[in-house]
Symmetry: C2
DNA sequence: CACAACTTACTGACCTGTCAGTAAGTGCGA
DNA sequence: TCGCACTTACTGACAGGTCAGTAAGTTGTG
């Protein structure tokens, strides 16, 4: 034992913080990764391609994020935070306002096909075995369905049965996602018009509840 | 030059034909490939995995199909032929019968998640840059939309405007695809019920045509 | 006995992750 | 305020692995 050691054996390190510019650097990499994973998919997109977009090597990217999978996780978190920031100040839409918001989103998406492609590719890929984004996508769907279902019940004044609202909620999400894919592949598909048409149709059917006959049984 | 060659200079050698068992062998490989591409995706699925399912090496697969991309193309063609064979004898459904057929399909799909996953993964992957299945998926959507649009017009007795029918047709395809993805990720989603609900809703809205107000403008 | 149906062996491309080394920034003590 | 101690932010090389595709050899069947 060394008697000269001070009692508090604290490993008193010096500069333990990342540098000032680091946060912005990481954000740059995350945006580049979102871009690459969006256009090529997670499996097919390479760290080298991400790195080249910010002018470093793939090892530099790994210095910041540790692994490719961790990079994906942080890309998804980053996008969540950005979405939240976009809604900041605005009250979280509910009731009828939520559906107006969904249709507005579809209209906006026409001008940002990159974002739409990223979402579609990742969602499709996530249903493969052991995909690292599976949990994120699943959670996202669950939360969205819950919000939409609640809005339907609210708009219907509580008279909409729970299972009908659930069907309608998943249908609305489904039609939005499905139309995006068709629009990406063929721009003759009118994304905003079809989205609005379908949401109004589903909403109207949910309001009518179970009174309506089922001609397709 | 070989004087013994018959006048017709046809290089008609002996057994230029593949063996009897070859056709079935190729079909085996195609089924294995459909399985692998379905669960792992095209990019992520390997020829070795396909080959192992039929007890040969990846080079053996390449002997039959030449390249991975050609294998994918033939998988898609094979599936088309199988789908047609399934409908053989049955008249191709039109009018209201088409929608009943779509709902029946959704009900059947609950018992074959592998098929559904294959379709979903490939569709999602196809929106990436230069994907070899892009043309096939795009064509498939175009044909389906045309058929559904025609059925809507027929059911509506010609009073449904073309653009409304087009929106409704892409919405029906979209909601079916989108619901499949949600169901694959979370079986609390009731695929048949939601599909039927959404198709009936969209159909009803299309029949009402443009008379209905648009509360979400 | 010729050729289909393979296998084995190999190539080159590409990908993730590791590692040692370097330049530059940062904070603290003298 | 200078400069040392230490850290961050990389680079470049490389290991280890997977993959599609090729070429040459083997086998057994028609």
């Amino acid at each position: 034992m060394d008697a000269a050691v001070p009692p508090a054996a604290a490993p008193k390190r010096r500069a333990r913080q990342p540098r000032q510019a680091t946060a912005e650097r990481r954000a740059e990499i995350l945006r580049a990764a979102a871009n690459t994973f969006g256009s090529k998919g997670y499996k097919n997109g390479s760290l080298t391609e991400v790195a080249e977009q910010v002018g470093i090597t793939h090892a530099g990217v790994l210095h910041h994020f540790g692994s490719k999978e961790q990079l994906l996780v942080e890309v998804l978190e980053y996008r969540d935070k950005e979405d939240v920031r976009d809604l900041e100040g605005q009250h979280i839409p509910d009731g009828m306002e939520l559906f107006r918001h969904l249709i507005r989103t579809a209209r906006m998406n026409v001008d940002r096909p990159g974002i739409v492609q990223g979402y579609s590719v990742l969602t499709g890929e996530s249903v493969t075995e052991n995909h690292p984004a599976r949990g994120w996508v699943t959670d996202r769907f669950t939360i969205l369905r819950g919000e939409i279902q609640a809005a339907i019940v609210e708009v219907g004044g509580g008279s909409v049965p729970e299972d009908v609202a659930a069907c309608a909620a998943s249908s609305i999400i489904g039609v939005m996602d499905g139309l995006q894919v068709q629009w990406l592949l063929d721009d003759r598909v009118d994304l905003p018009a079809a989205t609005q048409f379908a949401i109004e149709a589903i909403l109207a059917a949910a309001m009518l509840g179970t009174e309506r006959p089922h001609p397709l049984d």
